[in-house]
């Protein structure tokens, strides 16, 4: 398979499907109770040096509570997959958790602005990087989920993004057309936040999946944080709605408001005031240190963080916003 062009970005993970198979062969297939605290889940499955990936996208259904816990436990030297990674990226940068990075979209918080802290960390020289795109990272997870070392795509061609990636370009033997081969990405550990899960790890997600179906399948270890637990009987009543089957999952942690201050579809909208408070605090290093201490290091868990930021009353305001009930209240309808 002649390589026409290849990027010089390093692959931080091994795309070899036989090595992944050997790992997955040993993973338990038993439906056993995987309930544990998020603290224990991070202690057990997230290690210094591991390659980490985070579910959700752009502060939507992002496991923020897990990001706090990873920072709180002081993880270092991790690899990380940054596909439209916004507030999660900001938190992990604040903790200097990673030192190598697959980039698709980082630093920014989309329409909200840019994270000074994240930019500073990225310009510090402390992070080795490979460039990709959102779809390329999604395709890399898809290849891993398929159990193959690559999938072909038609993006990245003709750009510097390709040159600084770890992708390779070949000619399709059926059509002669150039294809970009996206190497499989098997994260050592991932965290995905879901709406509902049973104690075994069967999960339901409402609204957009983003890449979390493939991420769950690609990951060697998987921590689920869930808004709420449901009985296994309810999972079995409607197996069409299961998006992540239990055998992919290592830990199930019930974390209400686990995506706060981001959006959890059909639950609560993002807390824009709190996200702005982050962006503002970052501008003064001393203030930011205090901010992190208050919101992360001194919090025992997500309940304390929520209590600190308006508690359940605030969560219900955000619920009202999510369902656009504030508009109904204002306008008598949409």
């Amino acid at each position: 398979m002649d390589v026409i062009e290849e990027g010089k970005g390093r692959l931080f993970t091994d795309p070899d499907p036989d090595k992944a198979r050997a790992f997955f062969r040993k993973k338990s297939r038993k439906m056993k109770n995987k309930l544990m605290s998020l603290k224990m889940a991070v202690e057990t499955f997230v290690h210094d040096g591991d390659y980490l990936a985070i579910g959700g996208f752009g502060a939507n259904r992002t496991p923020i509570a897990a990001c706090h816990e990873i920072v709180r436990q002081g993880r270092k030297n991790m690899g990380f997959a940054g596909h439209t990674s916004t507030h999660d990226f900001q938190i992990l940068s604040a903790g200097e958790v990673f030192d190598r990075l697959d980039i698709a979209y980082i630093i920014g918080l989309e329409a909200r602005g840019l994270s000074q802290c994240a930019r500073k960390y990225m310009q510090s020289g402390k992070v080795e990087i490979s460039e990709w795109t959102n779809y390329s990272l999604a395709a890399r997870l898809k290849a891993a989920a398929m159990g193959v070392p690559f999938v072909p795509t038609r993006n990245m061609l003709g750009t510097d993004t390709l040159k600084h990636s770890g992708a390779k370009v070949v000619a399709c033997p059926f059509t002669g057309k150039k294809m970009t081969l996206q190497p499989a990405l098997y994260p050592d550990v991932s965290v995905i936040h879901v709406h509902e899960a049973d104690v075994f790890g069967n999960c339901r997600i409402k609204g957009i999946m983003i890449s979390d179906d493939d991420l769950a399948r690609a990951s060697k270890h998987l921590i689920i944080t869930t808004e709420r637990l449901i009985p296994n009987e309810e999972i079995r009543r409607d197996p069409t709605s299961t998006k992540i089957p239990y055998y992919l999952v290592d830990a199930v942690c019930e974390i209400p408001f686990g995506a706060y201050p981001g959006t959890m579809p059909y639950e609560y909208f993002s807390d824009e005031d709190h996200l702005q408070a982050w962006l503002k605090a970052e501008k003064d290093p001393e203030e930011f240190k205090e901010f992190l201490k208050r919101n992360i290091y001194n919090c025992a868990d997500n309940f304390e963080y929520i209590a600190l930021n308006g508690g359940v009353a605030r969560m219900y305001e955000l619920r009202m916003k999510e369902f656009l009930l504030h508009k109904e209240a204002e306008n008598g309808g949409l």
Partner: protein, 256 residues
């Protein structure tokens, strides 16, 4: 003539480019405002797709994120990243709007770094996101940006997202899907397309109050001129009313 600001001008002009019954992949901000305005004016059947999975929502307000719950509010489908990008790659998405810190005469975009040393950039930018993907796959890529010589540069520091690459047939030779590529560049001062043979950027209309000379002076490379350069139609009263009252009542985008 109605009174309007730079952002309102660009959004109104952009909205008119979106054909009724076509599909558009958009991000947040001005592109989304343009698509919403188009739906409420001449393109009620315009289908909006968001890269994280939302398909044809009835947008109740401006989304903050391309993945927030507004992007699939009363949508016909809440899917995922691969679904949207593969749908684009399969040829189902007609338009996309992108931006970037820099653009060159072939419509190549940079949103990765500023500086000429990749390993030690002056400024690290967010990266491609889904821009490279949409630009590779959608039939017609458009850019909405302010006319500024620091943005319109001879050579971008990093080609994050493909335009016509080096012009001519270089985009097809690079292997990108055939017959797709940059279509229109919309700025506060005018509208550019690309000359069919060389694929070089070409001015085809100028905004009221500006001349081709103004555009050229705010562009870091030599622009071609269309056979006939017309005056861009300014925003109508109706467009402005809908944009201000229905699309962006809190002036998140147009108020800047």
């Amino acid at each position: 003539m109605a009174d309007y600001n730079v952002m309102e001008m660009m959004i109104c002009v952009a909205a008119r480019e979106l054909e009724d019954g076509s599909t558009v992949g958009v991000g947040t901000g001005a592109p989304c405002a343009a698509a919403m305005l188009a739906q409420k004016t001449d393109a009620p059947n315009l289908v909006i797709m968001f890269e994280a999975g939302g398909v044809n929502p009835i947008l109740p307000e401006m989304p903050i994120s391309v993945g927030d719950s507004r992007t699939f509010y009363k949508a016909v489908m809440a899917s995922g990243m691969c679904e949207i990008m593969e749908t684009s790659c399969r040829g189902f998405v007609d338009y996309t709007f992108l931006g970037g810190a820099q653009i060159d005469m072939y419509g190549n975009l940079n949103s990765t770094i500023i500086g000429d040393d990749y390993d030690h950039p002056k400024v690290r930018l967010p990266g491609s996101g889904g821009a490279n993907d949409f630009a590779s796959f959608c039939w017609r890529m458009m850019v909405l940006t302010v006319q500024d010589a620091r943005r319109f540069v001879e050579k971008v520091d990093f080609v994050t997202t493909p335009g016509w690459i080096e012009g001519g047939d270089s985009r097809a030779k690079a292997g990108l899907p055939l017959d797709a590529g940059p279509y229109k560049i919309i700025t506060n001062m005018g509208v550019m397309d690309f000359e069919p043979e060389t694929k070089r950027m070409r001015t085809i209309s100028v905004s009221p109050g500006y001349s081709f000379k103004d555009i050229q002076e705010n562009c870091g490379f030599e622009l071609l001129q269309g056979a006939k350069i017309v005056e861009t139609m300014p925003p109508t009263e109706k467009e402005l009313r809908i944009l201000r009252e229905e699309v962006d009542p809190y002036r998140y985008i147009i108020g800047r």
